[in-house]
């Protein structure tokens, strides 16, 4: 090797790798597909994570968003707590106004009056918090008008996500507590998370009513999923006969925006929300989808590793002789390993690129709910760290899957490699002995399995991973379907989460299917000779085909059972632990559903393996045995 | 039977005629059964006349040739030494068969392939005989080794016939 310069060596490795890949296009395509499925999902997850933060930030920039939103504290008077008296009210307002001069505050707008009201529009009603604003632009928190114009007397402006949820357009008539208004605009703000995550200036609750039916009345005095609307100050006052029941908000700009949380923690008897906490609320949903997708990506990564291992292991068996040749003409073990690794690294890089492209194209489908924030729709983009991480994972999968066989091949003695055409089958004595007592198809099937224990383990693992994924998805689906607005989710959010679930499920299933076919093919190819031999010795084609199929279905059954318990159970627990979710609320899937999953898995694997197994049982015997001579 | 072979069998020590025959039969095994006893004594007589061996009368004084004791003369010893040192090898006469095929084809006397087939039958019969005989021999006997040589030789001849067959098939289809 020292005779070659480094560049020449790299060129040699590259050329050998490319030539080998070209010779096995179908296999290369399968490898690509397997890794690509994983990288696509991972990209989706990562892009969503970025998308979760970005629209809020751009909204904040466009609307001169506040660093801290302060409001007077309103306690639900009817909840039995004695209401603050009039003097207290004024004191509170004074305290709020004084914040404008507090140290570190460099700008403010307000205080603005806020009132609670009930909005009715084309048959739909909703609680709202109405903020009274000036007609002119404010220095802090200038809601960005997306359609129509800004507030005027008799005209109401709706927060965009709220308008979307109520399906209200500019020019529509609405009533607030019975008074008629015209919708004059739709706007976004960074001072409050979009509907239905609004901050509670008045006592309110988002999401399902505890212990109540959907649609049941919330406790009196408590707003339910309030929307945000803007009116003129006059209109707000006109809506509220008693000025004491008004609340006030004030938007503050700080010298140090990063210190917003500390500022609000440090201050005083006033309710305050920092922009970071608004950000968190605003992007909670995207975060949930992202966790789903990241879990999916990890599962898919494991599946991809399993299918790669099978493919690579099968190829190594066929390649042992080639390795011997390479070594016989002077390749060092290092060169041999390098060529093998280079092949899969090439595939991995291509798969990473394809996955990044596919992932970023698919991401908008999952981020539509970003409405309510500027730039919230369809603009998630790939960042350098995302691309790096996805590529690294793809490479990691390739390296992990190929390292063992590559090292083994490189270490094989040259003479041994030249003499041995293939990896010798393993012997599992007790299985052979046990199989002797079984009917012919089972006898052959167990021996097929016993020849390659590692492949059986990979098959079991692959199915177990898939089924545990499906278990978790079933739980989440039941959770979303069974309780509308559960976990604080609105219809639109549930829709998005469901879409994320669907994406993960679809990719998980397709990769599992690819895996099943790959493993079956590897088994069929590997058993060409022994299948032909069994037939020469009197096994019928059907017996051989059945055996090849059973050799896949038995591990699938084991994998499915393991996937339900402990696989799915453990995975769900892990998901709960990482998301800090409250798993107790989610019902575990009923027994019949789990049985159905196991049964469907087995049937699906049987169907997928039927064709390769049938072909494997019908190859011409004489030809195969003759080919075995060389 | 070559004279030198008989001469060399006597080189170890003065030998009775019957001992000589036993020695030969041990070395040749079943093949030696076909050996004509008279043939050996004719050879011995020739060697004696050539002055290569001397005859000692046996102790009991009988005239029977198998009771006579034969010894090498110095000339005989020299002849044996020369023979041992000689590089000779029995050569099968393939040229004759080869020319037979060519002549038969050229003159249209017979189909060369028929000749090849007939020859093969003969050789296969011989091979079968040699092989059966070899299998009946105990392991590691001298005769088994000789038979192995004969079998291998016949195999080689049969392979050459195969080549002849291929060649003449080709010529026929080519012409």
């Amino acid at each position: 090797m020292d005779r070659f310069p480094l560049a020449g060596r790299l060129l040699l490795v590259g050329r050998l790798a490319v030539r080998d890949l070209r010779r096995r296009r179908a296999e290369a395509a399968l490898l690509l597909l397997a890794i690509m499925t994983a990288t696509t999902t991972l990209t989706l997850g990562l892009v969503l994570r970025d998308a979760a933060g970005d629209p809020y930030r751009s909204t904040r920039a466009a609307t001169s968003g506040p660093d801290v939103v302060a409001s007077t504290v309103r306690v639900a008077e009817s909840a039995g707590v004695p209401g603050p008296g009039k003097p207290a009210r004024s004191t509170e307002l004074t305290e709020l106004a004084e914040l404008a001069g507090a140290p570190g505050v460099v700008g403010h707008s307000g205080p603005y009056p806020v009132t609670a009201a009930r909005l009715q529009a084309s048959g739909r009603t909703s609680d709202v918090q109405a903020v009274g604003r000036d007609a002119g632009p404010a220095s802090v928190d200038r809601p960005e008008v997306l359609r129509g114009g800004w507030v005027r007397d008799g005209g109401v402006v709706l927060e965009a996500a709220f308008a979307g949820a109520l399906d209200v357009r500019v020019g529509d008539p609405v009533t607030l507590d019975g008074r008629s208004f015209e919708v004059v605009g739709v706007a976004v703000t960074a001072a409050m998370p979009p509907y239905p995550k609004a901050s509670c200036i008045f006592p309110c609750m988002n999401g399902a009513v505890p212990g109540g039916e959907a649609g049941a009345e919330p406790p009196p005095g408590l707003l339910r999923n309030p929307g945000l609307v803007w009116l003129t100050r006059t209109d707000v006052r006109n809506l509220t006969p008693d000025p004491d029941s008004l609340a006030y908000v004030m938007n503050l700009k700080l010298a140090d925006p990063d210190g917003a949380q500390a500022f609000s923690d440090a201050n005083h008897g006033v309710a305050m929300q920092s922009w970071q906490s608004i950000l968190e609320d605003a992007t909670e949903l995207a975060g949930d989808s992202q966790i789903l997708l990241l879990i999916g990506a990890w599962l898919l990564g494991l599946l991809a590793t399993a299918s790669l291992s099978v493919l690579v292991g099968g190829r190594m068996a066929a390649q042992t002789r080639r390795v011997g040749l390479l070594k016989a003409v002077g390749g060092t073990p290092g060169l041999v390993a390098a060529v093998l690794l280079a092949e899969y690294v090439l595939v991995a890089v291509a798969a990473a690129a394809a996955g990044l492209a596919a992932g970023s194209l698919a991401a908008p489908l999952l981020t539509e709910s970003g409405a309510g924030l500027v730039g919230g729709t369809g603009t998630p983009s790939i960042t350098v760290p995302t691309a790096g991480l996805v590529t690294a994972v793809a490479l990691g999968v390739a390296v992990v899957a190929t390292a063992v066989p590559a090292v083994r091949a490189a270490r094989t003695g040259t003479v041994g490699a030249l003499a041995d055409s293939a990896r010798p089958p393993r012997r599992v004595g007790w299985l052979v002995a046990l199989s002797a007592r079984l009917p012919v198809p089972l006898l052959l099937a167990l021996r097929v399995a016993a020849r390659r224990p590692r492949r059986v383990v990979l098959g079991v693992a692959s199915i177990a991973i898939t089924v545990s994924g499906i278990y978790v998805l079933l739980v989440l689906n039941a959770f979303l379907a069974g309780q509308p607005l559960s976990g604080g989710y609105g219809d639109a959010q549930v829709e998005v989460l469901r879409r994320a679930l669907l994406v993960v499920t679809a990719t998980l299933l397709s990769l599992a299917a690819v895996n099943a076919v790959v493993i079956t093919w590897a088994t069929v190819l590997d058993n060409r000779h022994s299948s032909a031999l069994a037939r020469a010795l009197g096994a019928t084609p059907r017996e051989v085909s059945t055996a090849l199929a059973i050799a896949q279905v038995l591990p699938a059954l084991a994998g499915a059972v393991l996937g339900v318990f402990p696989g799915g159970y453990a995975l769900f627990a892990a998901v709960n632990a990482t998301t800090g979710g409250d798993g107790g609320r989610a019902p575990l899937p009923p027994l019949w559903q789990l049985l159905a999953v196991v049964l469907t898995t087995v049937l699906a694997v049987a169907a997928l393996t039927a064709v390769p197994a049938r072909l494997g049982g019908r190859r011409p015997v004489a030809e195969t045995l003759r080919a075995g001579l060389t | 039977m070559q004279q030198e072979v008989v001469l060399a069998m006597l080189a170890k020590e003065p030998t009775h005629g019957y001992q000589l025959r036993t020695r030969l039969r041990d070395a040749l095994g079943p093949l030696g059964d076909a050996m004509n006893a008279g043939h050996v004594y004719v050879t011995l007589t020739r060697l004696e006349k050539a002055g290569l061996i001397a005859v000692e009368r046996s102790a009991d004084g009988t005239e029977r040739s198998d009771r006579k004791v034969y010894t090498l003369t110095p000339d005989g010893q020299q002849r044996v030494a020369e023979w041992i040192a000689e590089v000779s090898w029995p050569k099968p006469d393939l040229a004759e068969f080869h020319l037979k095929l060519i002549a038969a084809a050229a003159a249209g006397l017979a189909d060369p392939l028929t000749i090849v087939d007939t020859q093969r039958r003969e050789l296969l019969h011989r091979l079968r005989d040699a092989q059966r005989t070899a299998m009946a021999e105990p392991d590691h006997s001298d005769a088994a080794l000789l038979l192995e040589g004969i079998v291998l030789r016949l195999q080689a001849d049969l392979r050459w016939l195969e080549a002849c067959e291929k060649n003449w098939t080709h010529r026929r289809s080519g012409s």
């Binding site: 052979v432 002797a436 009197g538 096994a539 045995l625 | 040749l28 039958r121």
Partner: protein, 248 residues
């Protein structure tokens, strides 16, 4: 075989096997007629590529003829289904291959018992039969060895034992000594002589004259057709001495 009532174990009539089409048509087996009587050992010889292995595969139902008939014990086997063929192979045909074709992960005795298991015999009966057969081929002491621990000759003897597992009407051997050295060839040769002696019907395809010389009958094959047939039975030439030039 002069008795007309005798049904030959194997009978082929007008047997053909063709590969390719039109210009590239190859007649691997070309109108072959063959009768093999019970207890007979027949050798089929010919240069490589003459179609002798294909013929053997046709006779054993491993391959389908393009034309003609094959009868095994009087029953046609060229037009029956794959399943029926497989069952026939279990009960009536034993194969011995040049490359041995043993299952590498199975011990000698497990290899030998496999056909019996495939034929649905009880595990115990199959094992007992396999042990007997290994004893018969002189490998009783190696029953638990994997093929990789056996010499070439031993492997082929295991393969012969396997072929005998279900007491087939005929054993078909394809170049059984092709991968063996001279000493191992002798081993297998002796084994075949023994089988012959016990009345086993044997068809051996070979280009090893030594194997062919053990047969009752030798058939020469050229370009897919039989061109010569020699009966080797009828004792020795009686002229052993001729072999070493002791007589002329």
């Amino acid at each position: 075989m002069s008795d007309a009532a005798d049904i030959p174990v194997l009978r082929a009539r007008g047997l053909r096997k063709e590969y390719g089409k039109e210009e590239g048509l190859v007649r691997a087996v070309d109108e072959v007629d063959l009768d093999i009587g019970a207890g007979e050992t027949v050798a089929i010889m010919g240069p490589s590529g003459c179609g002798k292995s294909t013929l053997l595969h046709l006779l054993g139902g491993l391959d389908r003829p393009s034309g003609g008939q094959v009868r095994l014990n009087g029953r046609r086997i060229d037009d029956i289904g794959e399943k029926a063929l497989a069952q026939l192979r279990r009960t009536d045909i034993g194969f011995v291959f040049q490359a041995f074709h043993l299952m590498e992960e199975l011990t000698a005795v497990e290899n030998v018992e496999l056909p019996a298991l495939l034929a649905g015999r009880s595990p115990r009966a199959a094992r007992r039969r396999a042990e007997e057969l290994l004893e018969r081929v002189g490998l009783a002491g190696r029953a638990r060895f994997l093929p990789s621990a056996l010499s070439g000759g031993q492997r082929q003897r295991v393969a012969v034992a396997r072929a005998l597992s279900n007491e087939p009407s005929v054993v078909l051997a394809d170049e059984p000594t092709g991968n063996l050295d001279s000493a191992a060839t002798l081993d297998v040769l002796q084994l075949f002589e023994g089988l012959h002696g016990s009345g086993q019907t044997l068809v051996i395809v070979t280009h090893d004259a030594r194997i062919a010389a053990t047969a009752d009958r030798m058939i020469s094959m050229r370009d897919g057709a039989f061109v010569d047939e020699t009966w080797l039975t009828g004792g020795t030439t009686g002229r052993l001495g001729a072999l070493i030039g002791l007589e002329d």
